[in-house]
Assembly symmetry: none
DNA sequence: GATGAATGAGCTTTCATTCAT
DNA sequence: GATGAATGAAAGCTCATTCAT
């Protein structure tokens, strides 16, 4: 009974995840995951996240999608451009998801909770593969690429700041609180495994929410 | 008022920073910073922190201490072993500092505050150069090296856990709270610059303390 | 008289030397000598034999085939793997030649004579470049590579043992006799030059045959 | 009973082995094995034989005698000079042993037998450590060193040639027969282990003697 | 768009050798 | 004679990138 209720409750968000991607692809904001370029970006997201950018070779990447390393440069000008493209895809998808999550939230507190959970899902579920790279591999980008990604990221961060302000989080300026949250949340990648029976993403969301709200 | 009181309080611990290192060197727990090996480790800590481990070459390292790249392998068997050695020095020094800071704290709340401030100082001041590597370059270590460092790290983490328990932090299990703090604090490396007039380390400590205590 | 008879007898086998290689290449047992990999192996065989494995650098090898050192690792994973590949080519070709030579022999005595001559040709003529490496550089192989080559070598050695048994050589067990022959024959590389007018390969074969048969 | 008989029979040759070395040292023909230089040469003989010259580092050598690598160059000008010195020691000792063995032989056949056995003992027993290097590492010497060693070797080879001539070995010129023997005997290093119960050095000597005599 | 071969700069590492102490 | 630190040339190898086919 619990499961069917859950299925009902999750169904719309599950659906909208696919629908979201579809809509973004149609708008030209996201690369079609089924296209060669899309499969490459997906593989890159996974490998960069697992092994790190510097420890992933172009050959690894090519092998992952079943082509030869030389062929990669028909799609991207350089390895760094792949990282940049991954980050742009990541932030585009994460933004859309977060906007949708924040809009559905009733009260300010729920909004913040939704932000936390949305980012945790981005990091730990298949929702936004490669999300943690935004933090861990930031320095592997050239300055130009950093600026490009930052521009795309603005909307995403604005949703967060609004939520923090509305929830009246303690700890000083909202930007500071957000930065602490960025660190705390992104680091969960290296220790939190939602498969463990002990702690689910909603559970973890609760704990973090409890800490960061008055 | 706050600042002058703090100056008085910190003076002795500032002094003991040099004494601490001296004592640890004499006990054989730390490499003499004046020795060739010590100078190499110091330079490595700085460069690995600034540029990242993979982006720092052995030649960079050698140039920094004024020797040739081949000479490095007179002191270390591999580049990875340098990283491992840096981390062990880092955790040894940070442990000693934190123990001393925690012991001097009066009440449980002050103890937690001391821990936060000690780690922030480790990250941002000359106190423990290379501290942030512990988090950012963890995956650059072999598994064997990770185990070695983890063993040394146990005492350090125990102090933290004790402080979190005593301060009755909200947010679930102490280990979970600590992990969120690890992320939040280590990430400050990439955005917080104490030289900015706006925010000092004690100020930042206050904010974080406020968030993580009831 | 002797020489003209021999010329007649050898003509077909000389022809089949090229045909042999062609056939082995088609069966996938030998690398095409015209391919990049094949040219590399050929150059390696020559250099390893002349200068020794340790004294030949990867850069020497690359220069010999007109590429850059890095390009070698497009074809082989390591220098040692090149040595291993050379030995496998060598034993494959030598096996085919010896089998053909042994089959054409009339009586048991002629069979042993054919084995001796075939191995001497392998060592001293263009027949099987790099043959002597099998003995002189054996210890430069890893244990895994040694096993690989040994497996391939079994057939070759079996032909020898059969010939020794059939010829009723004195001196104890056939395996022992073969080992003495391995040493005696491979060492000829360092002193016997067939270009010297004095002694031809058939002459040398005669002498050795005389010693090792009753 | 057998053992005591053997002890009696071997005693003189055992004694003379030590006495031989002592005499040679006193005459200034051999380095005192107890001296630092002597211990270095002994270690080098062992390591060069086991691992090969190129695969043995100066550090290995130094470690073996308990000094640091830099100190080696107080005794020898270069690594190659160590190899050369080892070979000179080896051929000096081997010459003396062989002369003594040949002189004690009664008939021509026994003389050849004594030569074979003496060389086998040099290779496989503690009699002349490093003997096999003379063949396997010949190419690691500079031409100057080769000439030096060759001069010393002349007497040794002359004893062999005399024995081969006297024994009326088949197989052509005595020099040719000797070269085949050099190859066959030196190669035994890589397969014959006298510790095996199966085959002793006298046994092996018998087999080889049987092959090389009419 | 893909392939396979090659590039070439630069990497970590090795090691015989030197030398002030 | 020994030490330990350093040298410096050269080694094996890596890898993003190029390009003719």
């Amino acid at each position: 009974m619990r499961e069917s209720a859950q299925a009902l409750a999750e169904a719309p968000s599950q659906l909208s995840s696919q629908q979201l991607i579809g809509a973004l692809v149609e708008q030209g904001l996201l690369t079609d995951p089924a296209s060669p370029r899309g499969r490459l970006l997906f593989a890159a997201a996974r490998l960069f996240e697992q092994r790190g950018f510097a420890r992933t070779t172009v050959r690894d990447l090519a092998a992952e999608v079943g082509i030869l390393s030389g062929s990669i440069f028909h799609h991207f000008a350089s390895k760094e451009q792949i990282l940049c493209a991954v980050m742009k895809e990541v932030i585009t998808l994460a933004s859309a998801r977060m906007r949708s999550a924040a809009e559905n939230a009733g009260c300010p507190q729920e909004k913040l909770r939704a932000c936390i959970q949305s980012e945790l899902e981005a990091i730990h579920e298949q929702a936004v593969p490669g999300f943690s790279i935004l933090v861990t591999e930031w320095r592997s980008l050239t300055e130009e690429s950093q600026e490009e990604v930052l521009r795309l990221r603005e909307e995403y961060e604005q949703i967060w700041l609004d939520a923090i302000v509305a929830a009246k989080c303690p700890g000083g300026a909202p930007a500071l609180v957000r930065r602490l949250l960025v660190g705390a949340l992104s680091h969960t990648y290296s220790w939190f495994k939602p498969r463990n029976r002990g702690l689910s993403i909603p559970d973890l969301t609760d704990h973090i929410f409890q800490i960061f709200t008055p």
